[in-house]
Subunit: 346 residues, 2 copies
């Protein structure tokens, strides 16, 4: 399988510890994740690894608000300018608007950071470069399917994207790579299904497509009653307006192993088949691994089965990297999904 | 002047550094603030210092939402229970809801912390006890005016209150002492004006009374375009619905000294006089001091003038302590306002 990857992700390397369930933790979304995945790809001889091509702002602005994109691009420079913070500092939100109150357009960078985020992730001097390059990775992978004759392609995106909403960032995500590629696909006339198998609900992706009927969003994830991102991802969310019925969530309990996961994945696959899409985007997080600090218990071989189950949908498939933080098994598990898919799709 | 003060505030003593304009700072809202103010009160022989009486939940629930109050009361126990954090840990929000998205009632403590706050202040094991005691301080001071025959009383509240909204905490504030006392006063049939002279806009107080015509909210503060709390406090905010015209903001530039401040205070006083209230609540922050880290330049004697200007309104006056963080001048400046007021009111 063809992989698209870029080196620009290295410009985004958060280091400051943050609050996480009552502890301070070091950021696990690190550049080495990409190194480990590429090692596994080379080791498994999965196929060519190609650099992305630039796609410009237009496909990004089809999904994200202009003021948000301008903010992201300028945030760290404004932060340094208005706070005197250093080039290598991390710009972090703290002040938020009071619910439902009117106010003028945020002016100061601290206000903007609070307005354009839904957790306390930092923006670094290289965040924009890394995030926009990750979009190019996803779009170049999509190109390879729609105009390059590939049946399935892997976009090794970093930073990930599925927690990024139309106008706010969170959960290590700044631009929603999967959503931008899915929208580009619909723009080319296709009906698209997004299958999000990351441990965490793809709340950004859901928000972006919540009122649309041309993109089906299906997600398997930890129960948001007890896990990040908490506020979205419940089974009762089905979409709004025209999008009614085009969102489907499978919240799963802590301790879920392949038995429980495979059941939900089969239901998700049936939902996708009923939608009859022309193409599939997989938000591929492998933080469902038993070795990951999160609460699911999938094992190495389970990811082969996951790839096979996705292949059984028989769709052109764009895999977009999301989470997965245990460096020791991350590469193996990603390659198992991709290899299992390729093997079964033959 | 009679002072009401309680020792329960000591149960709330945050110590973890937090993000503030690009730096990590130690919490300046510390118990020693009360010690310093009491020292100055004794030194100046300002008058009796009396303990508060308990007022129960009813006056709190007249201003704050029941679910919010229940959250505050149980938050740290739930935090310890669900995260395994220690008794002396600080419960801090990080995850927020995506704007305008539907979701179920927050369940996990991390979700609740995000939902019920508008910055990253902590909740400690003693926060509820301290905050509810500060409400008793404000209400007991109000009692002394309305049933005790006092003309003006000082409520030495800690934690402060004016950033606390109807259902969220921020800016060192958990329960809105001034708003609760003001509402109690209206409940007794009075028209009430609130004059907020803290350096920071009283966004919580404004939100609580924004649609009401029986409470006038007037605030002098740093321009929210460039200073905390950022999202509210602009000159264009006048109230909503029945409250239209009963909110008045005077945002002032960094570097404001007594000359500029006195001008705005005169306009604020004229606004209050036009409203013809029966009583006045002063949200008394003295973080406008030149010695404070914030951006105004008021000097010790200016606080005597401030007290005199407030006395010229000729109203029964409840002073409620808000901010002020320079321990060396905090007590002197508070006593100058109270003493200047008392002297002029004679």
């Amino acid at each position: 399988m063809l992989t698209i990857a870029s080196d620009a992700h290295r410009r985004h390397h958060p280091r400051e510890p943050f609050h996480d369930f009552g502890r301070m933790v070091a950021p696990p979304e690190v550049p080495e994740r990409v190194d480990r995945i590429l090692d596994a790809i080379h080791h498994a001889d999965l196929g060519e690894v190609r650099a992305p091509e630039e796609h410009g702002a237009e496909p990004v602005l089809a999904v994200h608000a202009l003021d948000y994109v301008e903010f992201l691009e300028q945030a760290h420079a404004q932060w340094r300018d208005e706070t005197g913070a250093a080039e290598d500092s991390e710009a972090v939100a703290y002040a938020r608007a009071i619910r439902d109150q009117p106010f003028e357009e945020p002016v100061h960078i601290v206000a903007k950071l609070g307005w354009y985020s839904h957790d306390t992730d930092p923006i670094l001097t290289g965040t924009w470069e890394a995030a926009s390059s990750a979009v190019d990775v996803a779009l170049s992978a999509w190109d390879a399917i729609t105009t390059g004759g590939e049946r399935s392609v892997y976009a090794l995106c970093r930073p990930p994207g599925h927690h990024a909403a139309a106008d706010s960032f969170a959960g290590y995500c700044y631009l929603n790579n999967a959503a931008i590629a899915a929208h580009a696909w619909t723009d080319a006339g296709a009906r698209v299904a997004i299958l999000d198998v990351d441990y965490h609900h793809g709340n950004g992706t859901q928000q972006i497509f919540y009122t649309r009927d041309d993109v089906l969003f299906v997600s398997l994830h930890a129960d948001p009653a007890v896990d990040y991102p908490f506020f979205l991802g419940f089974a009762g969310e089905h979409g709004w307006g025209a999008g009614e019925g085009a969102t489907r969530n499978f919240p799963l309990p802590h301790g879920t192993d392949w038995v429980g996961y495979a059941d939900a994945l089969a239901s998700a696959a049936a939902t996708i088949t009923r939608f009859a899409p022309d193409g599939l985007v997989v938000s591929l997080g492998v933080d469902t691994a038993a070795e990951d600090p999160d609460g699911f218990e999938l094992r190495g071989d389970d990811y082969l089965r996951m790839g096979e189950a996705i292949a059984s949908l028989g769709l052109p498939t764009l895999f977009v990297q999301e989470g997965g933080y245990c460096l020791d098994v991350l590469g193996r598990n990603v390659v198992n999904v991709l290899g299992g898919h390729e093997q079964a799709a033959r």
